[in-house]
Amino acid sequence: MNADLQDIWVYLSASPLLHLTLTLAAYAAGDWLYEKSGHWPICNPVLLAVLMLVGLLTLTGTDYHTYFQGAQFVHFMLGPATVALAVPLYRQFDRVKQSAAAIVISLLVGSLTAIVSAVAVAWALRAAPQTLVSLAPKSVTAPVAMGIAEKLHGLPSLTAVMVIATGVLGATIAGGVFRVARIRDPRARGFALGLTSHGIGTARAFQMDELSGAFSALAMGLNALATALLLPLLYHWFAG
């Protein structure tokens, strides 16, 4: 690299603009590939964008902290987006009311299933206790899951990775699971997606239809509450 280019690189890599732009560009490229593949679930835009960015950062020797200085502006929007979920929820509220009893029971069973199935498998395969705690809230939207992991002495940033992985995984396999299990009701599909795979599952549910999307947003919000209440109880029960 000659001196001028070196100067430009040093300047750019110190400003948040570069990594903010790269984040959007990687996602746009991932989204384009997803469209091109005819919505093939493996070509999940989040998965593709993360792979591209990790590859690029590794090649250029950039650490995560530097990357996050730019990417934080995107990350920040998770908050207002969570608040905005009230809008589709309100629009579908009549149908939500009709299903109130089904929602409460599905929430309790689903929330416990998400926690216990993950922890049991990882425990049987001898994962460390700290990994188990970081894994337990993985179905809950990232900011909540990280808060829970922190309270229970897990690793919040490891939890964030598990959360994203669960989101991508759920969105990818949901179509197949629903076909095999013969789940056809859009309310059930949306609720299962949002409970299992939080925001990424909700993004997938909105691609199906608005009713699925609204039930998914509802399940995501309720599971955040349910897990925040249930997990500390389970933790003290098993660890205490």
Binding site: T82, V83, L125, L158, A188, A192, I200
Partner: protein, 114 residues
């Protein structure tokens, strides 16, 4: 548009103040969602511009998870020893949770309609 973007931020801010002030484990944005929802109930409708702002943000919801996902870089060392246990747990749990939750919801939903 700016008005309603401000409204979303104000709901979030109110949510954060409440959760921190009362020491709740529930995150601020979730409380913010409840506040906005209550507001819509009182108003009895979604203003068109608010609908546009919400749809605009939610259309690209999955983009917002990319920065946290790149955080996997920080944990390559830890996952080296436990990748099998962690991946197996994530896959099994995603399949089982999707199937169990969807199945119960469909079953109860159908029973309730009759």
């Amino acid at each position: 548009m700016i008005r309603f973007l401000t409204l979303l931020l104000m709901c979030q801010l109110a949510g954060e103040v409440i959760t921190v002030g009362l020491g709740w484990l529930v995150p601020g944005p979730v409380v913010g969602m409840v506040i906005l929802f209550a507001g819509l109930m009182v108003k009895g409708g979604v203003p068109r511009e608010l609908g546009d702002v919400a749809t605009g943000i939610l259309k690209h919801l999955s983009l917002l998870f990319v920065p946290a996902g790149v955080g996997i870089m920080l944990h390559v060392g830890q996952l080296e020893h436990e990748w099998l246990a962690v991946s197996a747990a994530l896959v099994v749990s995603a399949v089982v949770t999707l199937a169990v939750t969807g199945w119960i919801m469909q079953w109860l939903g159908g029973a309730q309609r009759r």
